[in-house]
């Protein structure tokens, strides 16, 4: 053969083993590099970076973290970007400086980094704290006569006060969700004096808690000497990164990651956590699976087991395979037109006429998004299931028939159990495709901000008409649509990593299921 003429490779083999091995290696490397990039950029964000106090030759000073360096536009030297925070004082939280003009860089221990609900982070010094000391009943309002705490003591009481605030916030949330909301909905059904009294008591407690939270503020000073008063309840987290030991930082990192996973977003998605998005993504994918599995499997059974294997069936099969290649945005448009406006609009007219013109089902929502994605992944499930069915040897079917089974019994007792691993493979592919899909969702129900997850304690518990958040859309929104993209970028990386992990988790569940089913009886023997 011509192959044997080539030199440098084992005779008769040629370069193909190297080519194939090489492409595998390159694919794996690229995948690994992608994950590494996401992990480093995303998870590194939660590590408390040291704050540098930078003094320039012209005498000005600022405190910040170096983000990146770039060559000067005209050439000759580098310039460096610092995250200097203090948007309320400086106007911009970012500062470019020429590296050559830096006079000195120091890392003083007393520099604080505050994460605030408004205006982003603050870098500077904590001068004093007043009001809201943990006095009896926490009733005191901010006032001139409040004791002023200064220096190290101020820092200590700020830390204590923040922990207390956290507890108060939790109590407040519990009170609202577990007591006030159910009471209010029960009251709406019928008047009841005891209930009303209970509600009034709970509301009084709520106001009390809110008042306690509102007390106290701190005096802050930026490194160039500007001062401001900051209410304590507006502070999310306080750190002195330069004074933290490695275990401290590790603990802070863990807490940061936890908050990212467990909390809702803040500041127009440029800060805070992604819990509603995780929840929305997983719930939507699960709903999608529940919707697509029966349709896909039934369609595959029809095509492979019931339909006459003629020209028509072949045509349908080709059409199904081609549907998998239709751009997802087309499904989105279809979902918007048919599900949202068509079916949703009619549902509103029939059942929710009293709330019109504000739509209930006639607008994007969880149900329509899941349906649209179910439609999108239907071909994948059909094709995978059909291949599984086609792989089952005919003698298995005939074996069942020869024992007096009807065609239905043959299907349910022999064929379908044998095809289950293939169906799960189809589900795995469908989940992988659906979880990463964003474009169609933008038309049929994803929201930029929907802090209320679609499952709660109120009837009917699962709110299919609600809009929901999605990790993929969250990435798009934080990375490209925020007011401060530079600040939100690490969060976008972290969200991307999380999305990959969520898809991985969903897939591993299906793979585990499939393995479990397979190992019960071993693989199909080859006859």
């Amino acid at each position: 053969m011509a192959m044997s003429k080539q030199r440098g490779f084992p005779r008769g083999e040629g370069p193909w083993p190297w080519l194939t091995a090489g492409s595998v290696a390159i694919s794996l490397l690229m995948l690994g590099a992608l994950l590494l990039l996401l992990a480093v950029r995303g998870l590194g964000h939660f590590w408390p970076a040291p704050v540098t106090l930078v003094e320039l030759q012209d005498g000005s000073r600022f405190a910040g973290m170096a983000v990146k360096e770039a060559p000067l536009p005209g050439g000759g030297g580098e310039e460096r970007l610092y995250h200097t925070a203090n948007r309320d004082l400086e106007g911009s939280p970012w500062t470019w400086v020429e590296v050559a003009t830096i006079e000195a860089e120091r890392h003083p221990d007393d520099l604080v980094v505050l994460e605030r609900q408004r205006w982003g982070a603050f870098h500077g010094r904590l001068m004093a704290l007043r009001g809201g000391d943990d006095g009896v009943e926490g009733q005191r309002k901010v006032g001139r006569e409040d004791a002023l705490v200064e220096g190290e003591a101020a820092w200590q009481s700020l830390v204590a006060r923040l922990a207390e605030l956290e507890a108060l916030r939790n109590e407040l949330a519990r009170l609202r969700d577990d007591t006030i909301l159910p009471l209010a909905s029960r009251l709406a059904d019928g008047e009841n004096a005891t209930l009303a009294a209970e509600l009034a008591r709970a509301e009084a407690r709520l106001r009390e808690l809110q008042m306690t939270m509102e007390s106290g503020e701190v005096l802050l000073e930026s490194v160039d000497g500007t001062r401001l008063w900051q209410p304590i309840e507006g502070i999310v987290r306080a750190q002195r990164p330069n004074a933290m030991s490695v275990p401290d930082k590790l603990a802070a990192w863990g807490q940061g990651v936890w908050r990212f996973l467990a909390e809702g977003p803040r500041a127009a998605n440029s800060a805070g956590g992604v819990w509603p998005a995780i929840f929305g993504t997983v719930l939507m994918v699960l709903l999608m699976s529940v919707l697509v599995a029966p349709f896909g499997v039934l369609a595959a059974i029809y095509l492979n087991e019931v339909a006459h294997q003629g020209r028509m069936t072949r045509l349908v099969r080709i059409a199904v395979r081609n549907l998998a290649g239709v751009p997802s945005i087309v499904y989105g448009v279809f979902g918007l037109g048919v599900f949202v406006y068509g079916i949703g609009g009619s549902l509103d007219e029939w059942f929710f006429a009293d709330t019109l013109p504000s739509p209930t089902f006639g607008t994007g929502g969880l149900l329509w998004a899941s349906l649209t994605l179910a439609l999108l992944t239907l071909p994948v499930v059909i094709v995978a299931t059909e291949e599984g069915l086609a792989r089952i040897p005919d003698h298995q079917r005939e074996g069942a028939l020869a024992l007096g089974a009807t065609r239905l019994e043959m299907l349910t007792r022999v064929v379908l159990p044998m095809a289950t691993p293939a169906m799960l493979t189809g589900m795995i592919l469908a989940v992988a495709r659906a979880a990463g899909e964003v474009a169609p969702l933008m038309l049929v129900g994803v929201a930029k901000l929907a802090p209320q997850v679609p499952v709660d304690g109120n009837f009917p518990f699962l709110h299919l008409e609600r809009k929901f958040m999605h990790l993929g859309y969250h990435i798009y929104d934080t990375a490209f649509h925020g007011s401060d993209v530079q600040a939100a970028l690490p969060l976008a990386y972290a969200t991307a990593l999380l999305l990959v992990l969520v898809i991985l988790g969903l897939n591993l569940t299906a793979i585990f299921l499939r393995h479990h089913l397979r190992s019960r009886h071993g693989r199909l023997p080859r006859h």
Partner: protein, 271 residues
């Protein structure tokens, strides 16, 4: 019944006995085609009760097709065109009062490749019984043991009834399939080259099993192995290109074939 006999058959001792046999299955003028490809041409023969009847013939001559016609396995294939009549104990298997599932329970079938279902050994044997329903756990246990014993497999698997059937050897799998078929209590057992995928020892076990089952069932065996046909069958039918060429007692067909075509086939194979 003598008019169903091939014409060129001179009476002798065994042949007279053959003529007197009570028939279990009667095939009359059976023609069968896959679309426009004819597979069986006007086959007429009767299968005697409680005997082993072997179908032999070159590959593609229609042995399996004939066998599968006997329990209507062709029903699923829409391309199949059939003419002629098949009677089981006197009643037409295509008749209106014949229930296909019922027919297939009465006429069991074992295929060339062992095809146990991907379930436990127990569940495989209980499969047909569970389809009928109405059996208690104890009755089911007894029926499974009985069937496995009848298939000479009980001793080998009684300690691992819950193990997957796919963990058995090929020969054991084939006997399991026979047990599974016996469990539903058939009157006829169709065997399509049941030993062709097995080693010699397993083959001998199957052959012994066939001889033992004769007491309670009518057996029809398709085989490519002349010695096997000679060893286990009472009567042999030779088919060629969809036609029944010669049919008679195994001894006389092998030792004294009536037609040259039969002799060529048998000697060509046996040499």
């Amino acid at each position: 019944m003598s008019d169903l006999m091939p014409p060129a058959m001179a009476p002798s001792g065994t042949i007279l006995a053959f003529k007197r046999e009570a028939s279990c299955l009667e095939i009359e003028g059976l023609c069968l085609a896959y679309g426009d490809k004819t597979a069986l041409r006007d086959v007429t023969l009767r299968v005697p009760r409680h005997r082993v009847t072997a179908f032999i013939g070159p590959s593609g001559c229609g042995k399996s097709t004939l066998l599968r016609a006997l329990n209507r396995l062709h029903d699923l294939n829409e391309d199949v065109v059939r003419q002629g009549r098949i009677r089981l104990e006197g009643s037409d298997i295509h008749g209106p009062e014949m229930d296909v599932a019922q027919l297939r329970r009465r006429v069991g079938m074992v295929f060339q490749a062992p095809n146990p279902f991907p379930m436990s050994i127990y569940d495989n044997v209980a499969f047909g019984l569970r389809l009928q329903g109405g059996l208690r756990k104890r009755q089911l246990d007894d029926a499974v043991e009985e069937a496995l014993t009848a298939a000479a497999l009980w001793e080998e698997v009684k300690d691992r009834l819950r193990a997957s059937a796919w963990t058995l050897s090929g020969g054991q799998q084939q006997r399991l399939v026979i047990a599974r078929t016996l469990a539903v209590g058939p009157e006829v057992l169709l065997l399509d080259e049941p030993a062709s995928a097995l080693d010699p020892i397993s083959t001998l076990k199957i052959e012994e099993l066939i001889r033992n089952l004769k007491a309670s069932l009518t057996l029809v065996l398709v085989t490519h192995n002349m010695q096997q046909a000679a060893r286990v069958s009472d009567y042999t039918a030779f088919l060629q290109q969809g036609e029944l060429v010669e049919y008679g007692p195994t001894d006389s067909l092998f030792t004294n074939p009536r037609l040259a075509r039969t002799e060529n086939y048998i000697t060509g194979r046996m040499a």
